[in-house]
């Protein structure tokens, strides 16, 4: 299976996928850590793909998403954005809305706590 096929398979068989440096338990980059930490805190079930463990995936995800940086968040097969966009959407409540629209479970109280802490 090519790296692109692997990516397509991963984002269709998991509701939420984070392509990141490191793992959700041990991120290897501050930007990946911020997004993974937010999702962890909000209790979102997601698949983490460590791009540092596979150079083919690392390049292929940039090509597939037409996006030059890592992390990259996918929800129900759709590219949401990188660290800046996910952070902005978390703080504005747009991420809550997206997850609700896509019927992905998360802890709304935790999302409110993140917003309160960053207000």
């Amino acid at each position: 299976m090519t790296a692109i096929d692997q990516i397509k398979e991963t984002i269709t068989s998991n509701d939420v996928v984070l392509f990141m440096k490191g793992t959700k338990e041990m991120p290897q980059c501050g930007f990946s850590s911020r997004v993974a930490g937010g999702l962890n805190f909000m209790g979102v079930t997601y698949k983490d793909v460590n791009v540092l463990a596979d150079q083919d995936i690392r390049q292929a995800i940039k090509d597939y998403s037409d996006w030059p940086t890592i992390p990259q968040l996918y929800v129900k097969g759709e590219f949401v954005g990188g660290c800046d966009i996910v952070t902005e959407m978390t703080l504005s409540g747009e991420l809550d809305q997206l997850l609700e629209d896509k019927e992905v479970a998360f802890n709304k109280d935790a999302a409110e706590q993140i917003r309160a802490a960053n207000a």
Binding site: K21, G30, F31, D66, W67, P68, T69, D84, M89
Partner: protein, 84 residues
């Protein structure tokens, strides 16, 4: 030319009303991706009429395209804030 100036020069093509390009490499010294000479981590704050009305993804893609793949491949981190 410092990378900050290279980025600024490329982003002038978007005719920004406001543009800040900040080298944040010193904040990441010693961390993965940092380099001895710095010039690894950058933050851009931009407001441009040409970006208004676009989705967030489209705004970021327009900025990425203006900066160019070659330059983005040379740096470790590119944080972007598109101001409304």
């Amino acid at each position: 030319m410092p990378v900050v100036d290279e980025i600024r020069e490329k982003l002038e093509h978007l005719n920004p009303e406001t543009l800040e390009v900040i080298d944040e490499s010193a904040l990441h010294a010693g961390h993965a991706g940092a380099r001895p000479g710095g010039e690894s981590h950058f933050r851009v704050r931009i407001r441009a009429r040409s970006l208004a009305g676009l989705s967030r993804l489209a705004q970021h893609r327009a900025v990425h395209a203006a900066v160019g793949a070659e330059l983005l491949a040379r740096i470790h981190a590119f944080a972007l804030e598109v101001e409304p």
